[in-house]
């Protein structure tokens, strides 16, 4: 086990220091996690683009504060969920209630998402965050193994250079490694972390808002 050599931390440090390749690698590793979180909110294409862009842009400036290994995926999950929620909150205020409107369904899905759905989302987030921690070759192999339609071992061998006879054992090692990632271990051992999004979510940091009324007097 190579816990001491956590690759994401050095990627984050390098990207914060100006290494664009390190940033691209972070983006490639964590884009599936981001996509999976945003998808749950059923936003339009333009909204999805805005949320994703906002999250990436903000992440670049916050990299230096995310040096702890678990911090990056949690930051991505929290920020993208919050930014997606803002669209739903906006719709709720401007639209008359229509139980058949998909945006209303999405809103209530987030407010009172059935436990099973939430747990499923958490499982997926843990797996995608775990996948992001894997070394490139193992990640690549797992991605090929779940392609739809499925690839034959011969095709996988061609793309990865791993001999056909070694794909089975390599697959086993990659899955073992996935079980050992921070994200998957935390998911399996931690208490159920049902996210509470409505509880004080507006207060992003600490401290109360100031008195804004003086703005309006102008």
């Amino acid at each position: 086990m190579d816990n001491g050599d956590y690759p994401i931390t050095s990627l984050v440090d390098a990207a914060a220091a100006g290494d664009e390749h390190a940033w691209h690698e972070i983006v490639d590793r964590y884009a599936p996690l981001l996509a999976s979180v945003i998808r749950r909110f059923q936003l339009t294409t333009a909204e999805t683009q805005d949320v994703a862009q906002t999250v990436w842009l903000r992440l670049i400036e916050h990299l230096s504060s995310l040096r702890e290994p678990r911090a990056l995926p949690m930051w991505i999950i929290t920020t993208s969920r919050r930014e997606s929620l803002r669209y739903l909150a906006g719709r709720r205020r401007t639209l008359p209630y229509d139980p058949l409107d998909p945006s209303w369904l999405a809103t209530s899905a987030e407010d009172a998402e059935p436990d099973a759905e939430l747990l499923r989302a958490e499982r997926h987030e843990a797996l995608l965050a775990g996948l992001a921690e894997l070394p490139a070759r193992q990640r690549e192999l797992l991605l090929l193994l779940v392609e739809d339609p499925p690839l034959s071992y011969a095709q996988i061998s061609q793309r990865t250079g791993v001999p056909v006879g070694s794909i089975g054992p390599t697959r086993g090692r990659a899955l073992d490694r996935l079980r050992q990632t921070f994200a998957v271990r935390d998911h399996l051992t931690g208490p159920a972390r049902v996210p509470v999004v409505s509880d004080g979510a507006a207060r992003l940091d600490r401290g109360a808002p100031r008195d804004f009324d003086r703005l309006r007097e102008r």
């Binding site: 100006g18 664009e20 940033w23 691209h24 983006v27 884009a31 599936p32 996690l33 981001l34 996509a35 999976s36 945003i38 998808r39 999805t48 683009q49 805005d50 994703a52 862009q53 906002t54 990436w56 842009l57 903000r58 670049i60 400036e61 916050h62 919050r82 803002r86 909150a89 205020r93 499982r123 997926h124 987030e125 797996l127 995608l128 996948l131 797992l142 193994l145 779940v146 697959r171 086993g172 899955l175 996935l178 079980r179 998957v184 399996l188 509880d199 979510a201 507006a202 207060r203 992003l204 940091d205 401290g207 109360a208 808002p209 100031r210 804004f212 003086r214 703005l215 309006r216 102008r218």
Partner: protein, 151 residues
């Protein structure tokens, strides 16, 4: 030791496959991310003002009933902060502590413009570009750049 579904290789791979199917947009979103790096701030003297309050994320119960739907945002960076109030037709803002300064708006699509804050730190912004924006604020006491937000 209790057995978990993921102890089995095939189950673990199946769940990973499900998770990835729901992340089908990842490739597109990664492209946005790569393009975003050009916006990295490299100015060491610039304070990053984090979004510390956003009224649009308050739950209905928390929202003060005596107010209309203007959205209030606070960006905090000691010793300087920015407060914004987003109304349907305009955006007004306040530099805290109050004082003169220049406000520059940057949009991720490259549009920029600036306005002057008055001696009390108050400023008034015309319509905003679509998509993520951030504000830079230059004052005699310091300079800050806010988090990216959609207004």
């Amino acid at each position: 030791m209790t057995q978990h579904r993921w102890d089995d290789d095939q189950h673990l791979l199946d769940d990973l496959s499900d998770a990835l199917r729901e992340a089908a947009l990842a490739g597109t979103l990664a492209e946005y991310g790569k393009g975003a790096y050009a916006w990295r701030t490299i100015d060491q003297d610039l304070l990053l003002a984090s979004l510390s309050f956003d009224s649009s994320l308050e739950s209905v119960q928390e929202r003060r009933s005596d107010r209309d739907d203007a959205r209030v945002l606070v960006f905090t960076a000691a010793p300087l902060s920015l407060e914004l109030e987003v109304m349907p037709d305009r955006i007004v803002g306040q530099i805290v502590p109050p004082g003169p300064g220049e406000i520059r708006v940057e949009a991720a699509d490259g549009v920029t413009f600036h306005v002057e804050a008055d001696d009390a730190g108050f400023f008034d912004l015309p319509g905003m570009p679509r998509g993520p924006v951030r504000l830079r604020c230059d004052t005699p006491t310091g300079r800050l750049v806010t988090d990216w937000v959609r207004l």
